[in-house]
Amino acid sequence: MPYDYRPFDYVPPAGLREAEPRHPVVIVGAGPVGLAMAIELANHGVRAVVVDDNNVVSVGSRAICWSKRSLEILDRLGVGQPCVEKGVIWQVGRTYHREAEVFNFDLLPEDGHKMPAFVNLQQYWVEAFLVARAVELGVDLRWKNRVTGVVQGADHVALSIETPDGTYALQADYVVACDGARSPLRGMLGLEFEGELFEERFLIADIEMEADFPSERRFWFEPGFHAGQSALLHKQPDNIYRIDLQLGWDTDPEVERQPERILPRIERVVGHRDFSLDWTSIYTFQCRRMRSFVQDRVIFAGDSAHVVSPFGARGGNSGLQDVDALGWRLAAVLRGEAPAAALMAYDCERVHGADENLMNSSRSTRFMSPGAGVERLFRDAVLHLAGRADFARPMVNSGRLSKPCTYPLEAPDHPALPQAARPGSVAPDAPQGDGWLIDALGGRFVLVAFGEAPELPGLPVLRPQPNAAVIKRWLGSEVTALYLVRPDQVIAARWVSASAEEVAAALLAAQEGRT
């Protein structure tokens, strides 16, 4: 059944009547990234104002594949459970060339994690859950509030905001721009994206139908039902399926978006006409980012900062990882516990993450939509061989799905400890009795100890039960270990043993963004 869009109430903001006191943070954009940002800040004791020019959740499914890491972040924000319950859980992807399966992947082959590898859930559902949570936490959500001007001051940012009742001014210590790929704020500040724009067009459609497709990602190169092009199928909740069809650069988007063009194409994919079109869109590929995501007191997060092609589920997921890396730091700066320079660690880490996403995305795009000549020659050679020799199968690239990157930290490390838990990586989850290690870590600095742990004021110590999963993921062949874990559940430093001074130094470096 199609989503029941209900507009949120516009309430005339106080600023229309009299000047509002300066806010610590104004978040521009109430998409998944802006909403998650507001909740994350609330969890760290900072009350943000969120302004959005619209008053409904996302129209169309848009971001649909939420990764394990995103689900862990959403869980910390209080909406993980509804997302997993509502969503379609999957972990296997299958890639076909013509009719034959040429490659498959399993994204979470091992047990012992609270969250699944992926759930498919339309962006509008995620936003609806986040809005409800934000309201619960008392976040100041302002619908139909459109930013029309921004001025960077020495110690604040001034925004002009247009509402149905007129214009008013807002001041904030910091502004977080979560206003999407076409970010008006980026434009107002005269900042630009750098990178590649691919000459390829895709048609994207949400269709509603009764069907029994498995909960897997399916991708076809040159399928019989869509000659010479490629196609992607994802199952979503409520009998909604998502289909992406490559159209080619020489097609006319205005012609292709007409239902009489779309319906026969979809019919060839699903084999019948017994479906209804819920939403369609036509998009081109971009793999671009801003040079720096921190622009004085305006900080960019999500699509406003970086955009990738959609085949790696790296848009929405990387936006939530931005929130993860920014929230605790911005809260600490606003509370006066960390220098403003700590925000540059957000820039450094998320530029690194964006570059990894851009690299993967560009490679997938080149494979899916090769340029004429040698790119096409090798792409076709790989597909030809994939059905005949195992070695070519991993070269088939229909998108490499989002995994959190490991930040390049210069921090104490002990190389004999498991590689997956090295500094800069997200702390690996493991079962803990009836619960999960990821929950026990919470959203604060914590010292995870196996064996002796030095005592530091204000640094809680967590002693996990050393079950098989914990030993494999955290200890390896060692018997003692100390891990300093950040509020975003990223490992800041680790030792087999350390003095209080060593841990304190690593803690201070992480807090001040010096790693």
Binding site: F378, D380, A381, V382, H384, L385
Partner: protein, 64 residues
């Protein structure tokens, strides 16, 4: 790590060369290019070593 072998390493060079041409026999130029691309991928996988492959690509590119 083994370096790229650039000294003669094929026992019967003339025989190999003839086999290579015979493999292409009857193919159009486009089909031959496609076959060569597949052959590159097959041989690259057989070699596997990143350093040897890198040296081979540099040598192949030299003078192009």
């Amino acid at each position: 790590m083994s370096a790229l072998i650039t000294r003669p390493n094929i026992a019967d060079p003339d025989g190999f060369y003839a086999r290579l041409l015979a493999t292409h026999k009857g193919l159009s130029e486009g089909q031959s290019h496609a076959l060569n691309a597949r052959l590159v991928l097959i041989l690259a996988n057989h070699i596997g070593e990143a350093a040897a492959l890198e040296a081979a690509m540099v040598l192949a590119r030299d003078g192009a």
